[in-house]
């Protein structure tokens, strides 16, 4: 068994190496002569995680080992692993990028991601540890009809994980391509194959350690960058931010964001505006809706819930959330410096030139701090941050795949197909591994198929479904006596359907007419702008010429984008839902779908009473509060 595992791991590493070195390179952020450096850092990190997987593979014998590392993870380890599971590329690169482009709003956005863990800590972590085993459905099935719970639970887990997974795979592919210039398809395959190697051989043991290693690397990388950014100001916050707002690049960015109103503002006012709300978030209701999805959705994310089954006691579960909150919150505070530091040193425009979403803020800041694009240290630091970003995606994807695979193998295969009969442990582990391969292959396929799609809203949608379906169901199963099978089934259906349905008719999807009108406007204004730029170029004033040259590149880009967008919607009149314009005006459905999810569980429970659900209430309530027999529920 072990020798076989070792052989497989060697093959997996070889496959990744071939994939990583084989194809022709496009232009990436890393200069060609330093690309070997990136691969050296990548190889070191992959080597370390593979070694851990090799050790872990020996320990994975039972289903409990595979799904929950045998319940033998300590509170502190689990805290780091939760942070590793949660700090996806969206938060590591995305929030730093958002701050570098929009200032204050980017930082405000990060707060909800931390506050979410208060819900997890106070309401979810310990009770789930006390009554759950491997999956979300285990909690629901404890008192409600097990067969029905396993089916709806598995559907919901697979839905949420697939949305999240697609966003990660596409984001990962784009990221690796932008950083080191490997073709998109190969990047997606590399992420998928590596992740499969970890999960398949090492199960939750390896996944946990990959997440811990990644979280530690992420914190180290961020700390180094923040030290370099902040030291010149003697660790003074007003000193540092005062320099950020005094920067002409930042002031120019604010001016371009504000448009006409900026004309009457002084340079100092423009700079100060970067530290004020409203540059990114335009609709407060939408923002509150997003906040609700984050704060209640995290507690319903299957891959996060699953982490609480890996610790031995409720106390360890509590300790792990406290650790995770320290690490995650501390990381977001560091991100404040990364984002503003990148805006001041690299410049919002230069960051957006590499990636329009601003995702390259942290990597480009690293390169700048090391001495710039032509220095060894600059490229080494860029390589290090890129490798950490890559590890980030792999670690998050591994957690998601494990959650989806457990829903298929444990809930659907063992729970529903075998209907609770005793399935031998070896067969359970085999089912889990097969499910892992299936989910992994699916993730790679979707990742490649979704190339070029805008998938950023899928993460928000995953949170919205988790908050509207999973969260009400888990919460009311744990805390409400009258909660019943009918309530959970209805809640899962209503929460998921409303969240997904509203998103499909929201401004998140493409409306060809609107795209055409916006693009036409850009093209119509092109001539006037071009003549203004030409006049500035001819003026001979050095400052005006420099500004006109940047304006010209911006204009060329905008025109190209407008033409591309026009071509994409050519011949189309309506969105995928057959609409000319959005029917639902918010980007995030949470504010509607979360209350409806709760309402559905309440109504369903009151309408369809279930004797089993009520008879088992004393047991569930006693167990979740006291942890009676909890330590015996997982140890053999």
């Amino acid at each position: 068994m072990h020798i076989q595992n070792r052989k497989w791991i060697t093959r997996a590493v070889a496959a990744v190496a071939t994939v990583a070195c084989g194809p022709a390179f496009a232009q990436g952020a890393v200069a060609a002569e330093y690309r070997w450096l990136t691969f050296a850092v990548f190889a070191a990190i992959i080597g370390l995680t593979m070694y851990v997987t090799y050790i872990a593979a020996k320990r994975v014998k039972s289903a409990s080992d595979f799904y929950t590392a045998g319940g033998g993870v300590t509170g502190m380890q689990n805290g780091w692993a939760i942070a590793g599971d949660y700090l996806s590329a969206a938060s590591f690169l995305g929030i730093a990028g958002l701050i570098s482009q929009y200032g204050y709003d980017g930082f405000m956005y990060s707060v909800g991601w931390l506050v979410a863990y208060i819900t997890v800590l106070l309401l979810i972590a310990e009770p789930c540890r006390n009554i759950g085993r491997y999956t979300l459905s285990d909690i629901l099935a404890y008192r409600n009809n097990p067969r029905a719970m396993r089916i709806v639970g598995a559907i919901s887990v697979i839905t949420v994980s697939t949305f999240y997974l697609t966003a990660q795979m596409v984001g990962g592919g784009v990221l690796v391509k932008t950083l080191i210039g490997i073709d998109y398809e190969y990047s997606v395959i590399a992420v998928g194959v590596l992740m499969l190697a970890y999960v398949l051989f090492g199960g939750m043991v390896a996944t946990t350690w990959v997440q811990i290693i990644k979280a530690i690397l992420l914190v180290i990388a961020s700390l180094i960058l923040v030290m370099l950014v902040w030291t010149p100001y003697g660790f003074s916050l007003p000193g540092f931010l005062g320099d950020v707002v005094a920067d002409p690049k930042v002031q120019a960015k604010v001016a371009s964001l504000l448009g006409d109103p900026a004309k009457n503002m002084s340079a100092a006012e423009l700079g100060q505006r970067f530290l004020e709300p409203g540059l990114y978030f335009k609709n407060p209701i939408d923002q509150i809706s997003l906040g609700m999805a984050l704060v209640f959705g995290t507690a319903g994310l299957p891959h996060i819930l699953m982490r609480f089954f890996t610790v031995p006691t409720a106390q360890a579960a509590r300790k792990s959330v406290v650790w995770a909150m320290g690490i995650i919150g501390g990381f977001y505070v560091l991100t404040l410096f990364l984002g503003f530091g990148a805006a001041k040193n690299v410049g919002p425009q230069a960051i957006a030139a590499v990636d329009a979403g601003g995702n390259m803020a942290a990597p480009l800041l690293a390169q700048f701090l090391g001495g710039g694009p032509n220095s060894f240290l600059g490229n080494f630091m860029l390589a290090f941050v890129s490798a950490v970003a890559f590890a980030t995606i792999v670690a998050v994807v591994a957690g998601l795949v494990l959650a989806a695979a457990s829903a298929i193998a444990h809930d659907l295969y063992v729970g529903v197909y075998h209907g609770g009969d005793i399935v031998p442990p070896q067969q359970q582990v085999r089912a889990a591994r097969i499910a892992t391969v299936v989910v992994g292959a699916m993730a790679i396929t979707i990742g490649i198929a979704a190339k070029g799609q805008n998938v950023a809203h899928l993460v928000a949608l995953a949170f919205a479904v988790a908050a509207s379906a999973n969260f009400p169901c888990v919460l009311l199963t744990l805390y409400w006596k009258r909660c019943s099978t009918g309530g959970i089934v209805l809640g899962m259906i209503v929460g998921t359907v409303v969240a997904v349905g509203l998103t499909l008719v929201s401004p998140n999807v493409t409306y060809p007419k609107a795209v055409r009108e916006a693009s036409q406007k850009v093209l119509d204004g092109e001539a006037a702008k071009r003549s203004a730029i030409e006049a500035a170029l001819a003026s001979g004033d050095a400052g005006a010429v420099a500004k006109a040259q940047t304006d010209l590149t911006t204009l060329d880009k905008a025109v190209k984008k407008a033409k591309d967008d026009m071509a994409k919607v050519e011949g189309k009149e309506v969105s995928i839902m057959g609409l000319e314009k959005p029917m639902f005006q918010l980007k995030n459905p949470g504010i509607i779908s979360i209350p409806l999810g709760f309402l559905a569980v309440l109504l369903g429970s009151l309408l369809f009473r279930d004797r089993r659900s009520e008879e088992l209430w004393p047991e569930v309530y006693a167990r979740q509060n006291t942890g009676i027999l909890a330590s015996k529920a997982t140890s053999h």
Partner: protein, 108 residues
């Protein structure tokens, strides 16, 4: 796997000690949860509807909005710290006592 002790769950939740634990925990958790949620949503609401306050400069260029957002982190950590202290000092002891008692009874 050894046979699990048989536990009279109705007796557990009727136990006065469990009732005390339940009451204390419920009040504490509900209060803390409501406080945390209200405090958090003051951030997006304030940023949207109290812009003048958020733009007020307090410490050099650092304005109220920025300090308030930083306070959110400190408050979240304090809530976590406060809860785990209270739980560790009080709830755990009661829960362990009840669990040990009924597990012993169940085996007898």
């Amino acid at each position: 796997m050894a046979t699990e002790p048989k536990i009279d769950w109705n007796a557990v939740i009727a136990d006065p000690r469990f009732q005390v634990l339940h009451r204390k925990k419920q009040g504490f958790l509900t209060g803390l949860m409501i406080f945390s949620v209200v405090f958090y949503f003051m951030l997006p609401i304030g940023a949207a509807y109290f812009q003048d306050l958020f733009k007020t400069r307090i410490w050099g260029v650092v304005n109220f909005g920025l300090l308030f957002a930083l306070t959110q982190f400190v408050v979240a950590w304090l809530v976590a710290f406060y809860y785990s202290r209270r739980a560790g000092a009080e709830f755990d002891r009661l829960a362990h006592e009840i669990a040990a008692d009924y597990e012993k009874k169940g085996r007898a």
